[in-house]
């Protein structure tokens, strides 16, 4: 589903990603862990090209793009690849001037050119799925953080992406609100949604992830099943990092 080969990303002088290789199979959930500044968020943002890689190849769904070899992908290529991915942000980033339902309809109508009726039906279905159908005419400011994040998940799902990307989706939420978001994510994972999740929620990773990776200093240091990576890490660095997580 996703194949990343030899991915490099620099911001000016500093190299954030130093040759990442990663594969995510269809229907599987991959969890990315790592310390602040390790490049884990940059890696995630490279998958939907919110950051343009300096070098390397990214394959998502049907689309393969190669960077840093003369002819860089066009804007059109980038948009096509983004249509295959959905993203959920740490800060939710709902469109504040639109109701909950309009948030979920927006991409469907503007990008996928679905009719309003079709988009509304699909939108209401997704809001129901995340438990917020009754909030469909509320504005984002009227929702709690957890509710906003669930709407954001519905918004991403509405595009029927091949893969959903989560960038620390619960780290701005208190434990109770985080739990309701994690529940939605678990449901999605169990339904066979392909997901890549940057998170420090170890219990979530243990429960649903098929693959866990540990990134440090822009290098993919550890890769394997969650049990392997969390219980029997091969590197001292991984052990040290895991020992500092309290979840």
């Amino acid at each position: 589903m996703i194949t990343i080969k030899n991915l490099y990303k620099s911001f000016g002088e500093s190299e954030i990603l130093k040759g990442i290789d990663l594969e995510v199979k269809k229907g599987e959930t991959t969890v990315i862990i790592g310390p602040s500044g390790s490049g884990k968020t940059t890696l995630l943002r490279c998958i939907n090209l919110l950051e343009i890689p300096t070098r390397g190849t990214i394959h998502v769904g049907q689309k393969t793009l190669t960077f840093g070899e003369g002819s860089d992908p066009t804007q059109r290529d980038i948009i096509e690849l983004r249509k295959n991915t959905g993203m959920v942000f740490q800060g939710f980033h709902l469109f504040p001037h639109m109701t909950t339902l309009d948030n979920v309809m927006e991409g469907q109508v503007t990008v996928l050119k679905r009719s309003k009726e079709e988009a509304r039906e699909k939108g209401l279905g997704l809001l129901e799925k995340v438990g917020l159908k009754e909030k469909s005419s509320a504005y984002p400011y009227q929702l709690s953080g957890g509710q906003q994040q669930r709407v954001a998940i519905a918004r991403a799902m509405a595009m029927e992406p091949a893969v959903l990307l989560f960038d620390e989706p619960t780290s701005a939420l208190d434990p109770e609100l985080a739990a309701e978001v994690l529940k939605v994510m678990k449901d999605l994972a169990h339904e066979g949604m392909t997901m890549v999740v940057v998170t420090h929620k170890m219990s979530f990773a243990q429960d649903v992830a098929h693959q866990a990776i540990f990134v440090d200093g822009g290098i993919l240091l550890e890769k394997g099943s969650p049990t392997q990576v969390f219980k029997n890490p091969r590197h001292e660095r991984t052990k040290l990092f895991l020992s500092m997580l309290d979840d």
Partner: protein
């Protein structure tokens, strides 16, 4: 004696009110409205050029704003109306005024719009990009509607200033409200009262505009916490 004078003044004010109001509604308001609408369009293009990341466009936009903001509006109007004919470009008073005011609004409002666009958090762009929107789609659907809300108070300032600045068009022979006021004053020798009356009509027009601003702020602000 005083009574006679008071009666005369009231008579003058009464007789001049309708012509003044008419000039206001027929010339001042349309002149301001047309110039503002055209100016906003120009301002949006200028603002987009300024943030386009394309060096040439940025330089052109910067140059335009620099010229217009750095020179008096009155001088600009004189150049357009009295100066350009010497270069073979003859423009009537009305279009000359519209051109002058449009260029002025375009420059000042472009800075307002640019600031408003840049005040929209990066995350809004990213969220919109992440659902596959293109740059124009993000602007039209996500960023500009939010920027519009932020721009209403400063743009209303610009518009109200413009309504009053249209009085400068009197100096390029346009018979707008202020010029009618000057004519009445010349005929009656009552500058104090006639000009107060003129000021009063400007005040009325601007009061209506302030109300409109409130309405717009409420309408566009329904999605934020009060």
């Amino acid at each position: 004696m005083l009574d006679d004078r008071a009666v005369r003044i009231i008579e003058i004010l009464k007789d001049s009110f309708i012509p003044l109001l008419q000039a206001g509604l027929v010339f001042t308001v349309p002149l301001a409205l047309v110039s503002f609408v055209l100016g906003l369009g120009l301002a949006l293009l200028t603002a987009l050029a300024r943030i386009s990341g394309i060096k040439v466009l940025e330089a052109i936009a910067r140059f335009y704003v620099w010229i217009v903001r750095g020179t008096p509006l009155m001088v600009q109007l004189f150049i357009i109306f009295y100066g350009l004919p010497k270069a073979g470009i003859i423009i009537d008073a009305w279009p000359a005024a519209v051109i002058g005011f449009t260029l002025n609004v375009g420059a000042y409002a472009s800075e307002t719009i640019r600031a408003a666009i840049q005040s929209i958090p990066r995350g809004q762009w990213e969220a919109a990009y992440s659902v596959g929107m293109s740059y124009p789609q993000v602007l039209r659907r996500i960023v500009l509607p939010q920027a519009a809300r932020v721009s209403v108070p400063p743009l209303a300032n610009s518009f109200i200033s413009l309504v009053k600045d249209t009085s400068l068009a009197a100096s390029i022979t346009l018979t707008e409200m202020f010029q009618i006021g000057q004519r009445i004053t010349a005929a009656t020798y009552e500058p104090l009262w006639v000009y107060i009356e003129v000021a009063f009509i400007y005040l009325m027009i601007c009061t209506v505009l302030s109300r409109l601003q409130n309405y717009l702020e409420i309408r566009l602000g329904k999605y934020v916490i009060k």
